[in-house]
C-alpha cells in the first residue's frame, strides 16, 4: 500500500495530455482530430444549450398550455442534409490520410517485422536484428513489412499515429517518416494472449549520422538480401529459377512489383505477399506456362529466412552492383520482360 500511495503522488510528475507528434503523418491526423473535436464541441454545445433553453423556458407553469406541433419536413430535411454534407467532408479527409498511409513511397528503407507471442523481432535491410527495439534515422521513409508467427498482433506507434495489424500467413505493410529524434513507444494493440501488455518496445529515432554509427556498432550480419542469396543457393532454388533463360521455374529477375499472368488467367502484382506465398505454398498462384512442381518450403524456412528470401528476390530488380559475388544474380530488368511478350 505504501508503494501505491507513493505511486499516486508521483504520478503527476509525468502527465502529458497530447501524444508526441513525430512523423510526417502525425500532423495531418492531429489536424483532422482537432477539426473533429471542435465540430463535436460545437454540436454538443448547440444541442445541450438548446435542450437547456427549451427545458427551462418551457418548464411547466400554471396557465400555459403546451402547443401541439406535428413536426416540420423542412427542418427534417435540413438537419439530415447538413450533417450528411459535413460527414462527407470528414469521410474524404479521413480517406485521403488513409490513402497516404496505405501507399508506401518508392525507395523507402525496408524493415522486416515478425510478431510472435510476445515480442517483436525486427530486421533491417542491412542485416541488423533487433528485438522490441527499432532504431531508425530521422527524415527517412521507412517501410515495415510485417508478418506474425502465431496470432494476430498489431504494430502501433502512437507518436507516429500509425497502426497495422500483423497477420499470420500473410504480409501487411505500413510506412512512416520520423520527423523528430527521440524514443517512442511501440505497442502491440491487438489482443494476443497472456503478455499482450508486455509486447511493447521502443522506437529510437536518431539523427542520420548517429544512426550510421549505431549501424556499424550494431553488429551487422550481412545484408538481408545477401543472406537471402546464400539461402537461395543453399536451398537449391537456382536449379529451376535460372538467370539467363526460363528454367523449369520462371526467372525471378525484375519480377518484383510487376504484373504476373497466372495459370488460371488472373493477373496479379508480384508483391511481397505473392513472393512469400510462392515460397511457402507454390501451387497457390502458378505463373502461366509453368507447372506446379515446386516443393513447399513451409516449415523448412522460418519467418526470418522468408524475409531474407523475399528481400533477395526484390534485390534482383536492381542491376547487379559490380560482379556481386553470386552467379544467380538477376538478368537485367529489360531481359526479364521478354517472356511476357
Amino acid at each position: 500500500m505504501a508503494r501505491g500511495t507513493a505511486g499516486l503522488i508521483t504520478m503527476f510528475d509525468n502527465f502529458p495530455l497530447w501524444p508526441a507528434q513525430s512523423s510526417t503523418y502525425a500532423g495531418n491526423v492531429d489536424l483532422l482530430y482537432i477539426f473533429l473535436v471542435l465540430l463535436s464541441l460545437f454540436t454538443c454545445a448547440a444541442i445541450f444549450i438548446t435542450i437547456f433553453v427549451f427545458s427551462t423556458k418551457y418548464r411547466r407553469r400554471h396557465g400555459r398550455l403546451p402547443e401541439p406541433i406535428e413536426g416540420s419536413t423542412f427542418l427534417e430535411v435540413t438537419w439530415s442534409i447538413i450533417p450528411l454534407g459535413v460527414f462527407l467532408v470528414i469521410f474524404v479527409w479521413g480517406a485521403i490520410i488513409y490513402f497516404q498511409e496505405r501507399t508506401p513511397p518508392q525507395g523507402a528503407t525496408e524493415v522486416y517485422v515478425v510478431g510472435k507471442q510476445w515480442m517483436w523481432k525486427l530486421q533491417h535491410q542491412e542485416g541488423v536484428r533487433e528485438i522490441n527495439e527499432l532504431h531508425i534515422p530521422v527524415g527517412h521513409d521507412i517501410k515495415l513489412i510485417m508478418t506474425s508467427q502465431d496470432v494476430i498482433h498489431s504494430f502501433y506507434i502512437p507518436a507516429f499515429r500509425i497502426k497495422q495489424d500483423v497477420l499470420p500467413g500473410r504480409y501487411t505493410t505500413a510506412w512512416f517518416r520520423a520527423t523528430k529524434a527521440g524514443t517512442y513507444h511501440l505497442f502491440c494493440s491487438q489482443y494476443c494472449g497472456t503478455q499482450h501488455s508486455g509486447m511493447i518496445g521502443q522506437i529510437v529515432v536518431m539523427e542520420p549520422a548517429e544512426y550510421q554509427a549505431w549501424l556499424t556498432t550494431g553488429g551487422s550480419f550481412g545484408s538481408l538480401a545477401a543472406n537471402g542469396a546464400a539461402l537461395f543457393a543453399q536451398l537449391g532454388c537456382p536449379t529451376c529459377h535460372q538467370t539467363e533463360s526460363q528454367g523449369r521455374g520462371p526467372s525471378l529477375g525484375g519480377v518484383y512489383g510487376r504484373p504476373v499472368q497466372l495459370e488460371d488467367g488472373r493477373t496479379i502484382t508480384a508483391d511481397e505477399n505473392y513472393i512469400r506465398e510462392s515460397v511457402v505454398s507454390p501451387s497457390a498462384k502458378v505463373v502461366s506456362g509453368f507447372k506446379p512442381i515446386m516443393p513447399v518450403f513451409q516449415g523448412l524456412v522460418n519467418e526470418e529466412q522468408l524475409n531474407e528470401l523475399v528481400a533477395y528476390v526484390k534485390s534482383l530488380n536492381q542491376p547487379p552492383a559490380g560482379t556481386a559475388g553470386s552467379t544467380l544474380m538477376a538478368s537485367p530488368v529489360t531481359q526479364s520482360q521478354e517472356p511476357k511478350e
Binding site: F15, P66, I69, E70, Y98, I162, R170, H196
Partner: protein, 545 residues
C-alpha cells in the same frame, strides 16, 4: 387519489393472481416473463459490473499488481461477454419490450406465449453454461473471439463460452420473431402503423436485426467450436484459412448488435420526452423511419471495425463512406427529441433526467463515432481506449441510461407502486457524474495511445486511469441505488394509480399493475400516439417541480 390507491390494493392483477414458484416458472404471461428476465439480467449486470470494477482496480497503478495477467485477460473477456450477450442485448427488448409490446398495441399477450417462455429458458441455460464457464476457469479470448487466438492458442474454455453464446442467440432470435409476428398480427383494431408508439417501431427494428444478424454470429461461433473440438480447419492460417474471414462474419452480426442495444433505448427516450414535455413528439414519421433506416444501414458498415486489420483499401473506403450514412438517422433522432421540448411543458422527473442523460451521452458517443469512421484517424485510435470510451458512451451512456429511464418510467405500471422521486433524481445525477468521470478520461487516454486490453501500462497514463477508476466507484453506487429503492418501493412505495404520468400510451389506459390479459376488453384505438393535447394533466407529478 386515495380511493384509487385502495382499489389498486384489492384488484386482481398479474402479480397477485397466482402465487408460488411454479406459477412463475411455468408462466406464459408476457409480463411475468418480463420480470423473470429482469431478475436474470440484473444478476448478470452485477456480475459483469463486478468484473468491471476489478478491471478498474487493476488499472489504478501502472504495474500489474492486483491480479495476474491471465486473470486480467479473463476479467475483461467475461466482462465483455456477459455485459454484451447476457445483459445489453436482452436488457430492454426482453424486459421492457416483453412487458410493453403487447400492451402498447392493445393485445392480450405476444403471438407465441410459450415460445416466449422457451426463449427465457434458453437464456437461462446459456447463462448457466456461461456462469459454469466463469466459475471453472473462464475464457480469455476477448469478447470478440478473434481467430487464430481463439481457435488454436487459447487454453481456456472457449468451447463452453462459444456454446453459451450460441444458445443465447436462439433466445434472442425467438424473442425477435415473437415481436415481429406480434406487431404484424396482434394490433388492436384502429392501431394502424402510423399510430404505433415509437417504442414499438424501435423494438420492431431491433427484432429485424435479431432475426437476420444473430444466426450469423451463431454459425460463426459454432465454426470456432468445431475447429477447436473436431480439428476442422476453417479459420486456421496453417491450412490456408484467412483470419479476417472470422472478423467479417463476427462483425456482420456484432456491429448491428450495437443497434440492438441502442435502438430500444432510443424507443424509450421517444416515449419519455413527449410525456414529460406534455406534447406530441416532433417528427413522428421521421423518428419511426430512422429506426428502420438504422436497422438496415447497420448491416452495411461492419468492416469499419477492420480498417487496420488488413482488408483491401477499396473496401475500407466503401465501408467508411457507408458508416457515415448510418450516422444521419441517429442525428435526426437527437434533433427531433430536442425539438419536441419546444413550446412544451417540461417537468424534470426522474425518467426525464435519464432521457436528458441519454441524449447528452449518446450525442457524445455518436460524435466520437465519427472520429472512428474517419479512416486516417481510425488508424491511430483503433484498439485504444478511445474506442473503449466511445462504445461505453453508446452502450452504458446510451443503452443503460435508456434502460434505467424506462425502468423508472414504467415502474409504476410494472409494480403498481411509486419509487421515491428524490432518490430517483439523486441516483440519476450520480450515474451521470460517475459515468462521465469514468469514461471521459478514456478518450484522452486513447488519443494518447494507450491500447485496450492492457494489464499494465506506461506510467504517464496513470493520472487519467486513476480518475477513471474513481469514477467507476461512483458509477457503481449510482447503479446500486435504484435497485435498493425499487425493491423498497415494492413494499413501502405509495400506490401509483393507473396513469401517474398522464401518459398517452395504451399501456397506461389499463390498471396498474395490469391484469393477466392486460385489458378487460380489447381496446379500440381512435387516436394517434402522443396526442398530449387531449391528455389531462396528472395531479401527482404536477407543479411542485
Amino acid at each position: 387519489m386515495a380511493t384509487t390507491a385502495n382499489l389498486t390494493a384489492e384488484r386482481e392483477n398479474y402479480l397477485n393472481r397466482e402465487y408460488g414458484v411454479s406459477s412463475w416458472l411455468l408462466t406464459v404471461d408476457h409480463k411475468r416473463i418480463a420480470l423473470l428476465y429482469l431478475a436474470s439480467i440484473t444478476f448478470f449486470f452485477f456480475v459483469g459490473g463486478l468484473f468491471a470494477l476489478l478491471i478498474r482496480l487493476e488499472l489504478l497503478t501502472p504495474a500489474g499488481d492486483l491480479v495476474m495477467a491471465d486473470t486480467y485477460n479473463k476479467l475483461f473477456t467475461m466482462h465483455g461477454q456477459i455485459m454484451v450477450f447476457f445483459f445489453l442485448i436482452p436488457s430492454i427488448p426482453a424486459t421492457l419490450g416483453n412487458f410493453l409490446v403487447p400492451m402498447m398495441i392493445g393485445a392480450k399477450d405476444l403471438a407465441f406465449p410459450r415460445i416466449n417462455l422457451l426463449s427465457w429458458y434458453l437464456y437461462i441455460i446459456a447463462g448457466t453454461l456461461m456462469m459454469h464457464c466463469v466459475l471453472t476457469g473462464g475464457v480469455d479470448t476477448g469478447w470478440t473471439f478473434y481467430t487464430p487466438f481463439s481457435t488454436a492458442f487459447s487454453n481456456t474454455k472457449v468451447i463452453e463460452a462459444g456454446l453459451a453464446i450460441f444458445i443465447n442467440g436462439f433466445s434472442s432470435i425467438l424473442t425477435g420473431l415473437n415481436f415481429v409476428v406480434t406487431v404484424h398480427r396482434m394490433r388492436a383494431p384502429g392501431m394502424t402503423w402510423s399510430r404505433l408508439p415509437l417504442f414499438i417501431w424501435s423494438t420492431y427494428a431491433t427484432s429485424v436485426i435479431f432475426l437476420l444478424g444473430t444466426p450469423v454470429i451463431a454459425i460463426t461461433l459454432l465454426l470456432v467450436v468445431f475447429e477447436r473440438a473436431f480439428n476442422l480447419g476453417i479459420f486456421d492460417p496453417n491450412r490456408g484459412g484467412d483470419p479476417l474471414l472470422f472478423q467479417h462474419l463476427f462483425w456482420f452480426y456484432s456491429h448491428p448488435a450495437v443497434y440492438i442495444m441502442i435502438l430500444p433505448a432510443m424507443g424509450v427516450v421517444s416515449e419519455i420526452v413527449p410525456c414529460f414535455s406534455r406534447k406530441r413528439v416532433f417528427g413522428y414519421h421521421f423518428i419511426a423511419m430512422s429506426s428502420i433506416a438504422i436497422a438496415v444501414f447497420g448491416f452495411l458498415v461492419w468492416a469499419h471495425h477492420m480498417f487496420v486489420a488488413g482488408i483491401s483499401l477499396y473496401s475500407a473506403l466503401v465501408f467508411s463512406a457507408l458508416s457515415y450514412l448510418v450516422a444521419v438517422p441517429s442525428a435526426v433522432k437527437v434533433f427531433n427529441w430536442t425539438a419536441t421540448m419546444y413550446k412544451g411543458s417540461v417537468t424534470f422527473s426522474t425518467p426525464m433526467l435519464y432521457a436528458f442523460g441519454f441524449i447528452g451521452l449518446f450525442t457524445i458517443g455518436g460524435l466520437t463515432g465519427l472520429f472512428l469512421a474517419a479512416l486516417g484517424l481510425d488508424v491511430h485510435v483503433h484498439d485504444t481506449y478511445f474506442v473503449i470510451a466511445h462504445f461505453h458512451y453508446i452502450m452504458v451512456g446510451g443503452a443503460v441510461m435508456g434502460f434505467l429511464g424506462g425502468m423508472h418510467f414504467w415502474w409504476p405500471k410494472i409494480s403498481g407502486k411509486l419509487y421515491p422521486e428524490a432518490w430517483g433524481r439523486l441516483a440519476a445525477a450520480i450515474v451521470f457524474i460517475g459515468f462521465n468521470l469514468t469514461f471521459f478520461p478514456q478518450f484522452i487516454l486513447g488519443y494518447m495511445g494507450m491500447p485496450r486490453r492492457y494489464w499494465q501500462y506506461p506510467p504517464e497514463f496513470q493520472v487519467l486511469n486513476v480518475l477513471s477508476t474513481a469514477g467507476s466507484t461512483i458509477l457503481a453506487v449510482g447503479y446500486i441505488l435504484p435497485m435498493v429503492y425499487f425493491t423498497w418501493s415494492l413494499r413501502y412505495g405509495k400506490p401509483a394509480g393507473d396513469n401517474p404520468w398522464g401518459a398517452s400510451g395504451l399501456e397506461w389506459q389499463t390498471q396498474s399493475p395490469p391484469t393477466t390479459f392486460n385489458f378487460d376488453q380489447t381496446p379500440i384505438v381512435t387516436r394517434e400516439a402522443y396526442d398530449y393535447e387531449n391528455m389531462p394533466l396528472p395531479e401527482e407529478v404536477s407543479l411542485e417541480r
